[in-house]
Symmetry: C2
Subunit: 467 residues, 2 copies
């Protein structure tokens, strides 16, 4: 699919401005003027990082060999009924977002004949009740397991892996195990790579320069997606088209810069530190969760690039329209002026559900008859946007032609590129996560990992259960 045939997703930031919201309630021309030099510097810096290969995300759609992913996916679709993904953090929400957006609703409940691939179970936690129930559910089924950890050392994923490896090896024998276990990890380093080499397991590469939370368009997200029948070429075409738009220097032509700058300025200049993503489509509910991990972990930082303590970072919130109009909207309309609401609207749905003209004699219901659910959902979105705007509440809109592979590919790339740009504006490193190390080390200490003995003592016994 050629990039120029892709229906573009659109960004509308008009209602981020005081001209729409009222004096003092939105951004002004002055805000934009003042940030221009910084934005230009950040752009130059990103161009340099891309040339040096330190920032790879823009290149993934075009320069990635998807051959290995497609071969493995084809084999799995032929041979297994269930695919289990073991992964956490950046390794899980991308696959979940793709599956929920691009497979039919209730995917795992459909009979085998109505699915294009195996059922998919993304296990992003170590809750024993869930994991034991999964093992029960898989009994007697043909199962493949995709273990995803870039470092090969993630405690949760490795623990799950050890449980599954032990069982599969016993059940299938070492030969069949090799067909059913796929490790997605760093091309050369880490324990998962070592195990893949020692045991001759299939392994797929996560490019070293792509961090976990930016990895949805690598085999991390692409293998599960291709296995459940998603058109990953269309997905990557969409992402590639957006990557081209997001390479431009001019923020007006570059939606990632417009998005990143609007959100950064809302926080830095006006204290709008809660950034809500509210799609009006069930299929994008998990996209919002994917955004939440990307935005939080990339921008929430103690130190800026120069080592100054800054403690910055917006709080992302994943919402869903119209559902959360009856849950969060009261707060968004009337609470503190600390939020930006990002709407995601969808122009056309796959299905049409007409509302029949029943209860014609009942005043409060008859107006609904003759409409359809898609139109109702859209009207609710427009109404909520107008209400927030009229209340002087900052909001912006991303419009997708449809919830399809090209649009979702564009949306993923838009947010990834906006995140690295916003990182530049916040003057933090959007690619690291130093703040999670202490918790990891304390866990190692509690579990008796050699070398971490001192950390156990840092969790006082009155802060644990007795067992």
């Amino acid at each position: 699919m050629a990039g120029n045939k892709i229906a573009p997703i659109r960004l509308d930031v008009r209602h981020m401005f005081a001209a729409s919201l009222g004096r003092g309630l939105g951004l002004s021309a002055g805000h934009l003027e003042r940030i221009k030099p910084l934005a230009a510097t950040v752009h130059d810096d990103l161009v340099r990082q891309r040339r040096r290969g330190e920032l790879l995300i823009h290149r993934l759609p075009q320069q990635q060999d998807t051959g290995p992913v497609k071969r493995v996916a084809r084999r799995l679709r032929r041979t297994v009924q269930d695919l289990v993904v073991l992964g956490i953090g950046g390794s899980a929400p991308g696959a979940v977002a793709l599956q929920t957006a691009l497979c039919p609703p209730f995917y795992n409940l459909l009979p085998d004949a109505k699915r294009k691939g195996p059922r998919l179970f993304v296990m992003d936690n170590v809750d024993p009740d869930t994991f034991a129930a999964l093992l029960d559910l898989l009994r007697g089924r043909e199962v493949a397991v995709n273990v995803i950890s870039k470092s090969g050392g993630t405690a949760e994923t490795m623990a799950q892996f050890m449980v599954v490896y032990h069982r599969l090896k016993r059940q299938l024998g070492p030969d069949k195990l090799r067909e059913r276990l796929i490790l997605t990890t760093d091309p050369s380093s880490g324990n998962l790579r070592r195990i893949a080499q020692e045991e001759g397991l299939t392994a797929l590469d996560v490019p070293p320069a792509v961090g976990g939370r930016y990895s949805v368009l690598t085999p991390v997200g692409l293998l599960p997606a291709a296995t459940v029948g998603i058109d990953i070429d269309a997905l990557l075409s969409g992402a590639g088209a957006m990557a081209r738009r997001c390479s431009k220097a001019d923020p007006v032509a570059n939606p990632a810069y417009a998005l990143g700058a609007a959100l950064h300025l809302a926080d830095a200049a006006l204290g709008r530190r809660v950034h809500v993503l509210m799609p009006y489509a069930d299929g994008l509910r998990q996209f919002a969760a994917w955004y939440a991990q990307l935005w939080a972990e990339s921008l929430g930082k103690r130190y800026d690039r120069s080592g100054r303590e800054v403690n910055v970072g917006p709080t992302p919130v994943a919402a869903l329209g119209a559902t959360d109009q009856h849950s969060q909207l009261q707060l968004y309309m009337e609470g503190p002026l600390d939020k930006v609401v990002m709407f995601m609207f969808v122009e056309s749905f796959r299905r049409k559900v007409a509302i029949p003209k029943v209860f014609r004699a009942i005043d409060g219901l008859s107006y609904l008859g003759g409409h359809d659910l898609g139109r109702l959902l859209q009207a609710e979105g427009f109404a909520t946007r107008a209400a927030l705007t009229q209340a002087g509440r900052m909001n912006l809109t991303i419009t997708l032609p449809a919830v399809d592979a090209p649009s979702v590919g564009q949306a993923l790339m838009l947010f990834e590129a906006a995140t690295v740009f916003a990182g530049g504006l916040y003057a933090v490193n959007p690619l690291d996560q130093p703040g999670v190390e202490l918790s990891k080390k304390l866990t190692y200490g509690l579990l008796g990992r050699p070398g971490f003995e001192d950390y156990a003592a840092r969790v006082p016994t009155d802060m644990r259960f007795k067992n």
Copy 2:
């Protein structure tokens, strides 16, 4: 089950205080002293409201006749394979929270023989792709539909209802329709009640004094729960035990007052306006979503009780441990000092999944062997709490003996009672939601509802799609 045999859930607010976190980073004795008179006034006010019957939540566990719910649930469990709940806002998340916490994981995927009741589909949105897929999925199945709207006028729920009513009536005929359609609504007013009366449909009552978001322990949550085999007596016993604790005047003995005051003070005195609920159990993931709607809509208010414009309200965030340690924790550890993290820990899980001693030669993995997943999950929680505490970040802990009906009942009541108490401290009405009216009226305008013509013009045509 007698209330005194219920294993109590525990609240630990030690790490909300400067004594644990460091000077200026937490609450002080002075904060507590200064809020005492206000807390006493709020308590007196709540006692008055309860006596006058304006505040019913504490009474629901003891004084509710669950006979009608149990009779309908028993009939449905005998006769149907699928139960569809149509509801949005307060009418949906309670049922979802109960089902995910108290039914086996992957409930809808289990074969009929392994479930205690029908599959459950809670339809909390009007996305046509989801709704059409649901209708496909239900083809050839024995289905019941529970329509929940206290007012009987919720546009989304009524639209869904009209679609389903039309189909069911055609497919089943009017007699069987009466068995399969259950309306949960106000006892005397509204369109749903009127339809129930005119068509002789089964209807269950939502007590007029209980608002949607506080309704999980009325037929709104109890009918779906009982139908999928949840022990609603045990649930209500737990809630009743907590209601007794939450009736005491002394904040030390009353966990709702301790919780509400700690969170309110964190916001009002120290600017901790983001209140994260982070359970360490998959079964409580949707409990956190239930909390988010309760907290946001109850406390996010423009005007205080005296009519002064205040624009207050904390932002609730639903997280999940250990998953979000790899997603949100970076922000919680290093971002702005604007959050409280509420942990929910679980003392014992239902299942045990041992981590086998494989890969003994690999340094970074061998320490995991011999532990089990539950212990790993708990250790991660303790480690994360210790890390946040050592970083001077406010946090509190709610510990559940287990994810079972008595504990979940207690937790629901704890948060409901804490919400109304916090409403008193914020000096707002925690039972209303005036801020969502404009969006509703604009939607009516866009859909051509008579009487709302003027509102259509308030959504400019360049703010809608052309169709």
